[in-house]
C-alpha cells in the first residue's frame, strides 16, 4: 500500500516539480512547521557570530564607495572563486536538484549541467574584458562606449528587475525552508534573514559579503562531501552499487539511470539549457564579483576556481541524489501517514543527511542551508544597492562626480530599503506560487544582459539605439511569454492549457533580442551611432590589454 501511495505521489510530484524545482526558491507550496531544531540553531548561531565578527572587522575598512562596492579590489582569484561559488550555490541547488533527482533520477542533472556550463563561458568571453573595463558593476562596461544616461537607466532597470525577482523567490523559499528546518515562524525567519543581511552588507559592504560567501561555500562543500563519503562508505565505496540500490528502491527502476522520467521533450531541455547558461552568465551579482580582484589575470582565475568548486559540488550532488533514492526511499521514518516525503521532495537532501549522519549532520546541513540563504541574499542586496546608488545616483544624476560621503550614505540607505522590501514582499508572496518569479531573473538576464554585454564587447557596429530597443524587446517578450507559459497561465491563473508551452522562453527571447539589437544598430544612422562605433576601437584595446591603445594601433576585430 505504501508503495502504491509513493507511486501516486511520484507522478503528482513529477508534474509539479518539473516546474517548481527549476526555480530559484527551494521550497514551493504550503509547508508544515517542524519542531524547533536546537542542534541546527546552535550551529547556525556559531556561523552568525563568526560572520558578524568578520563584518565588524570589515566595517572598519569600509570607508569609501570603492571599498564598499568591490572590497578595494584586493580579493585574490582563489578567494573570489570560492566567493562566486558561495554566491551561486544556493539552497535551490542543494535542495532542489537533490529533490528533483529523488523524483526522476538522471533528469535532475540537467539543472546541474545547465548551471555549471555558465562558468567556462564567463571565463572565455567576459572575465578579463569586463574586469578591465568596469569599476563596480557590469553597467560600467556597457556604458563605456554607448551613451551613458539612457544605457545606464535601461540596464539599471533590468538589474533591479532581476535582483527584486530573485530576492522575492529567495525570501519566500527561505521563509518556508527555515520553517521546515528550524521550526521558526515564517515572518520571524524573514526578519532574521533580512536583519543579518542588512548587518553584513550595510556595514561590511563587499568585503564582509565576500567572507560570508567564502565561509558558506566551505561549509556547504564540507557538508556535501561528508554526506557523499558516508553514503559511499555504506556500499564499500562502490558508485555502481549505489546506483543499483537506487534502481531497486525507485518505482521507475533502471529508467532513473538515463533520461525521460521527468522530461520528454528535447526542446524543453534546450529551453532550460539556454536559460540556465546565458542567464547565469548575465546575473548582475555574479558579474559584480569580477571587480573585487586586483587585475585581469585574477579575474580569469576567479572564474576558473569557481568552476572547480561548483563542478565538484555538482558531482557530489550526483552521489547525494542517487543516495537519497537508495537510502531515503525505503525508510518509513521519512514519510508521513499519507505516504508523502516529509517536507516534500526538496527535503530529500536533509533526510539523506539524517539517514547517514544522524541529528548532528542534519543540524549541520540545516545551518548550512540557512547560511546559504544569507550569502545569496547578501550578494543580491549589494548588487541592487549598487545599481541604485552607483549606476543611477552617482553616474546618471551626478554625471560621475558624486559626493563620496553622500554616495556611501545613499548606498547604505538603499541596502536598508531593499532589506525592508525583501521582508514585505516575502510576506506578500507567502501563499503565492513563486515559481514564475524565480524564472524571470534567469530569462531576463539571458535576454537582456547577456546580449548587451556580448555585443558591446565584441561587435564594433553596436549602437545605443540598438542596445535600448533590443533590451526593451528582450525584457518585454520574456515577461509576456512567462505569463503565457505554464507557470502563470495554468498554475497561477488557473487556465487549462498554456498559450506558450515552455517555462523558460529564453531559447526564443534571447535570439530575438540579439536580432533586434543587430538590426536596429545596422539601420542606425544617427550622429550618436557614429560615436558609438568609433568608441569601440579604444574600448577593445583596453578590454584586452588593460591599457589605452598606442596611437594608430587599434582596430576592430
Amino acid at each position: 500500500m505504501r508503495h502504491l501511495l509513493r507511486n501516486s505521489f511520484l507522478i503528482w510530484m513529477c508534474s509539479l516539480q518539473a516546474h517548481s524545482a527549476l526555480a530559484a526558491g527551494a521550497i514551493e507550496g504550503e509547508v508544515t512547521r517542524q519542531p524547533v531544531n536546537q542542534t541546527a540553531i546552535i550551529m547556525f548561531l556559531i556561523f552568525v557570530v563568526a560572520t558578524l565578527f568578520i563584518t565588524w572587522r570589515a566595517s572598519r575598512a569600509t570607508t569609501t564607495s570603492s571599498v564598499f562596492y568591490n572590497a578595494g579590489g584586493q580579493i585574490t582569484g582563489a578567494q573570489n572563486g570560492m566567493a562566486i561559488a558561495g554566491d551561486f550555490m544556493s539552497a535551490a541547488s542543494f535542495l532542489g536538484i537533490t529533490g528533483l533527482m529523488f523524483i526522476g533520477g538522471f533528469d535532475g542533472l540537467i539543472l546541474s549541467l545547465g548551471a555549471f556550463g555558465a562558468w567556462p563561458v564567463l571565463m572565455f568571453l567576459f572575465a578579463k574584458r569586463v574586469r578591465n573595463l568596469g569599476s563596480f558593476t557590469f553597467i560600467d562596461v556597457i556604458s563605456q562606449r554607448l551613451e551613458r544616461n539612457p544605457i545606464r537607466l535601461v540596464t539599471a532597470f533590468s538589474t533591479i528587475v532581476v535582483v527584486v525577482m530573485y530576492l522575492i523567490a529567495q525570501m519566500v523559499g527561505a521563509g518556508k525552508l527555515i520553517q521546515l528546518l528550524f521550526g521558526l515562524p515564517y515572518e520571524l525567519a524573514l526578519i532574521i534573514v533580512s536583519g543579518l543581511v542588512l548587518g553584513y552588507v550595510a556595514f561590511g559592504g563587499m568585503l564582509a559579503t565576500t567572507w560570508v560567501q567564502i565561509i558558506k561555500a566551505i561549509l556547504l562543500l564540507t557538508g556535501v562531501t561528508l554526506i557523499a563519503f558516508l553514503l559511499l562508505a555504506r556500499l564499500d565505496f562502490s558508485f555502481s552499487g549505489l546506483l543499483e540500490q537506487a534502481t531497486l528502491n525507485h518505482p521507475k527502476g533502471e529508467a532513473i539511470l538515463s533520461s525521460g522520467v521527468i522530461f520528454k521533450d528535447p526542446v524543453q531541455i534546450l529551453t532550460i539549457q539556454v536559460s540556465m547558461l546565458f542567464g547565469t552568465v548575465g546575473l548582475p551579482h555574479i558579474l559584480m564579483r569580477l571587480f573585487t580582484v586586483p587585475d585581469m589575470r585574477q579575474a580569469k582565475l576567479s572564474a576558473y576556481y569557481a568552476s572547480l568548486f561548483i563542478g565538484y559540488f555538482y558531482i557530489a550532488l550526483l552521489v547525494l541524489g542517487f543516495g537519497a533514492i537508495a537510502f531515503v526511499y525505503n525508510a518509513p521514518e521519512f514519510f508521513d501517514e499519507s505516504g508523502r516525503l516529509i517536507g516534500g521532495s526538496n527535503m530529500a537532501a536533509i533526510h539523506i543527511a539524517s539517514a547517514v549522519g544522524g541529528d548532528v549532520l542534519t543540524g549541520f546541513m540545516s545551518a548550512v542551508c540557512f547560511a546559504t540563504i544569507l550569502a545569496v541574499v547578501a550578494g543580491l542586496t549589494l548588487s541592487g544597492a549598487a545599481a541604485i546608488s552607483h549606476d543611477v545616483y552617482a553616474e546618471v544624476l551626478k554625471q560621475g562626480e558624486p559626493d563620496p560621503k553622500t554616495e556611501l550614505r545613499l548606498t547604505r540607505i538603499s541596502v536598508f530599503l531593499i532589506g525592508l522590501a525583501a521582508v514585505l514582499l516575502g510576506i506578500a508572496f507567502q501563499h503565492e506560487n513563486v515559481a514564475f518569479i524565480a524564472t524571470i531573473p534567469m530569462v531576463v538576464s539571458a535576454s537582456v544582459t547577456f546580449p548587451m554585454l556580448l555585443l558591446s564587447l565584441f561587435w564594433g557596429g553596436f549602437t545605443t539605439r540598438g542596445a535600448i530597443w533590443g533590451a526593451l524587446v528582450g525584457l518585454s517578450t520574456s515577461i509576456v511569454l512567462i505569463v503565457l507559459g505554464p507557470q502563470v497561465w495554468v498554475s497561477v491563473l488557473g487556465n487549462s492549457e498554456a498559450l506558450f508551452p515552455y517555462d523558460y522562453p529564453a531559447l526564443f527571447t534571447m535570439p530575438l533580442a540579439f536580432a533586434v539589437m543587430i538590426a536596429v544598430s545596422k539601420l542606425d544612422a544617427s550622429p550618436r551611432a557614429a560615436t558609438d562605433r568609433d568608441n569601440y576601437q579604444a574600448l577593445l584595446w583596453r578590454a584586452e590589454f588593460g591599457e589605452s591603445a598606442p596611437s594608430g594601433q587599434a582596430g576592430s576585430v
Binding site: 538522471f106 542533472l109 540537467i110 546541474s112 549541467l113 555549471f116 556550463g117 562558468w119 567556462p120 563561458v121 571565463m123 572565455f124 568571453l125 578579463k128 558508485f239 555502481s240 552499487g241 546506483l243 543499483e244 534502481t247 533502471e254 539511470l257 538515463s258 533520461s259 525521460g260 522530461f263 520528454k264 521533450d265 528535447p266 531541455i269 534546450l270 539549457q273 547558461l277 589575470r297 580569469k300 582565475l301 572564474a303 576558473y304 568552476s307 572547480l308 563542478g311 555538482y314 558531482i315 550526483l318 565584441f458 577593445l540 584595446w541 584586452e544 590589454f545 591599457e547 598606442p550 594601433q553 587599434a554 582596430g555 576585430v557
Partner: protein, 80 residues
C-alpha cells in the same frame, strides 16, 4: 608593449573558438532526450553506470580541462 592588431584578432578568435567548442559540447547533452542518444541509456559492462551518467561527469571534467588549456594559452600569450 609589442602588441599588434593581429594579436588582438588572434585572442578574440581564441575566445570564440573555446566558447564555440564549449557550447557544442554543452548542448550535446540534450542528445540524451532524443532518439540519436538512445545508446547513452546503455550500461557500461556489468556496472550500473550508464552512458548518460558517464557523459554528465565527463562533460564537467572536459569543461574544466578546456578552461585549464585556455588559461595556459593566455599565460603563454602574455609572456611572449
Amino acid at each position: 608593449m609589442n602588441v599588434t592588431e593581429a594579436e588582438l584578432k588572434q585572442r578574440t578568435r581564441r575566445r570564440f573558438f573555446f566558447t564555440g567548442l564549449h557550447l557544442c559540447l554543452y548542448f550535446s547533452f540534450s542528445l540524451n532526450w532524443t532518439v540519436w542518444g538512445n545508446f547513452l541509456a546503455d550500461r557500461l559492462g556489468a556496472s550500473h553506470i550508464t552512458g548518460s551518467l558517464l557523459m554528465f561527469i565527463s562533460l564537467i571534467l572536459i569543461f574544466i580541462a578546456l578552461e585549464s588549456v585556455f588559461l595556459w594559452l593566455s599565460r603563454q600569450g602574455e609572456r611572449s
